[in-house]
């Protein structure tokens, strides 16, 4: 009897999902939003179990228990630095689930499909398959199981386009003869191959864009599954997630001043993996200013305001806790401390904020680029840790620079800039940074964590 009213519950769940996402617009309410969304999901799952077509519970319960156990385990043990991989895996599994539901419908109903269902089924298999295999490749690259450099196969655009055309042809054949289930299977395999082929040419540094885009695809796959099953809640939620992924994709592309086409097909985004080289000796007066740890501490002690600019290098060196300690000591001295976060700091949208929050940095101290960029001019000391291209003034002033036009943090406006760096090596884009040679900038060479620990000692010893 509940089956008749199932749509009322599904509709309520869809509404609660939207509210849940709405509450994510502030750290204060975000947790409540997630719990709300969780409750809605639980409700939807329970009413589905009461659906009249669900009669054999054994396998379903085993599936739920196994899935919940594995999900909870991974969610608990994952390190915050590894969050992008985790999201990629979960995302991929969502895509795979859509594919499996689609294949299950095919196994059950062939050949009784109308044209509409045939087309949305093909789209489910295609998008879900690309999401799954693409996410697995993204995972392998982020986890270091696969090299981060782009893998550029010869004639890859031709191959991909050929596979795309093949999917359209097979789809058309299915519309003509809905009983040919083997075509569905072939489409699934083509989709899996496409996911791999489309992701391997994308460099490790561009993975944040790919993760966002795959997130969007997984939403679309769900929406298509909803059309196959005639379940509006899936269509609603799938579209929401699809839209979310697209927005984040655009933000990441804008943050790098690259078009999505360029990221996906350009074959860029190679990460520099070269060994750290000690700074080359330069002629007197030509090289950058170099500060010892003590000199840097002296500059900080005299500062009224400090802005920390963290890059992924900070997280890679596991220096976030040391940075928080340093900030605490500065605040005890009455110094104002803020963090300036560039949109592409970290390995996925917003990643750096999570890494700092994990180190107990209070979120009111975290500022987006647009909110803080005007504050540098009135700041005494800016400390750049593990960031390079996002603080390169060349992006504003040098039209010859490959990153010209990319939005950057105006660190050079502050009275003193301290750059913590292993060496004078340029960043992954291999671009010289004129900031390092500016008069108000000083380099502090060494491992980020060791250097910051040095700052902590210096500041606590007065």
């Amino acid at each position: 009897m509940i089956s008749q009213y199932i749509d009322i519950f599904y509709m309520t769940a869809a509404g609660l999902f939207i509210f849940g996402l709405k509450y994510l617009n502030h750290p204060e309410t975000a947790r409540k939003g997630n719990l709300l969304s969780m409750g809605a999901m639980l409700m939807a799952i329970i009413v589905t179990l009461l659906h009249h077509e669900v009669v054999s519970f054994g396998m379903v319960f085993v599936g739920l228990v196994v899935g919940a156990g594995a999900g909870l385990f991974w969610a608990r043990v994952v390190k915050m630095t590894d969050m992008p991989q985790m999201v990629a895996v979960f995302n991929g599994f969502g895509g795979l689930a859509s594919v499996l539901v689609g294949l299950s419908e095919i196994a059950r109903l062939t050949p009784n499909f109308d044209h509409f269902t045939t087309i949305v089924l093909v789209l489910t298999l295609l998008i879900g398959g690309v999401t799954f295999s693409g996410s697995m490749i993204a995972f392998a690259k982020l986890q270091g199981l696969m090299g981060g450099s782009p893998i550029l196969l010869p004639a890859r655009h031709v191959v991909n386009a050929g596979l795309g055309v093949l999917v359209v042809v097979l789809g058309a054949a299915l519309v003509a003869s809905p009983g040919a289930w083997i075509f569905h299977v072939i489409i699934t395999f083509i989709a899996l191959a496409l996911g791999v082929l489309l992701t391997i040419p994308i460099g490790g540094a561009d993975m944040p864009v790919v993760i966002s885009l795959l997130n969007s695809y997984s939403g679309l796959a769900v929406a298509m599954t909803g059309l196959v099953l005639s379940t509006p809640v899936l269509v609603t939620v799938g579209s929401l997630v699809g839209a979310a992924g697209l927005i984040l994709t655009k933000i990441m592309c804008d943050g790098m001043n690259r078009s999505l086409v360029n990221v996906l097909f350009g074959g860029f985004g190679q990460e520099s993996t070269g060994p750290a080289v000690p700074p080359e000796p330069m002629a007197e007066g030509e090289g950058p200013n170099v500060f010892t740890v003590d000199q840097a501490v002296e500059a900080m002690k005299n500062a009224k305001s400090v802005i920390v600019v963290p890059g992924y290098g900070l997280a890679a060196a596991q220096a976030q806790h040391a940075v928080r300690e340093m900030a605490d000591l500065l605040q005890k001295r009455g110094t104002d401390v803020k963090y300036a976060i560039h949109p592409v700091a970290g390995r996925m949208p917003g990643h750096m904020n999570v890494l700092l929050a994990e180190a107990n940095v209070p979120y009111p101290q975290l500022f987006d680029m647009d909110d803080i960029n005007d504050d540098f001019a009135s700041t005494d000391v800016t400390i750049v840790i593990g960031a390079n291209d996002v603080v390169n003034p060349g992006a504003k002033t040098n039209p010859q620079s490959p990153i010209y036009g990319m939005p950057v943090l105006n660190v050079e406006d502050s009275k003193q800039v301290l750059v913590l760096k292993r060496s004078m090596n340029p960043g992954f884009a291999g671009i010289d940074n004129e900031l390092f040679l500016m008069e108000n900038c000083a380099m502090v060479f060494g491992d980020a964590k060791a250097t910051v620990n040095g700052f902590v000692q210096g500041l606590s010893s007065n």
Binding site: M38, L49, V54, G94, L229, T231, N353, Y363
Partner: protein, 93 residues
């Protein structure tokens, strides 16, 4: 259930607008939890998976449905749990 055809596509279109509007108000500081929350929600395929896996008998369709339940549940439970873990860390003081 009745096929939803065009109505389904209208829902798709309108929900996209709601999605764009809702998501664009989320500040960058919360973009990682947003992504993982959206990811968890997209595991809603689990509803289709339960129906596919819960039908009578051990046919190819229900076996595929079972695996769909496993993967969708990992997506849902893992996604929500890790989002909650992250959101707990955001503190004011």
């Amino acid at each position: 259930m009745e096929p939803i055809y065009w109505t389904g596509l209208y829902v798709f279109l309108l929900a996209c607008f709601v999605g764009f509007d809702t998501i664009s108000k989320v500040p960058p500081i919360l973009h990682t939890p947003l992504m993982s929350a959206a990811n968890a929600i997209s595991g809603v395929t689990i509803l289709g998976a339960i129906i596919a896996g819960g039908r009578a008998g051990y046919t190819l369709a229900t076996v595929l449905g079972f695996f769909a339940v496993v993967f969708a549940t990992i997506n849902v439970v893992g996604g929500y749990a890790v989002t909650d873990r992250m959101l707990q860390m955001f503190k004011k003081e």
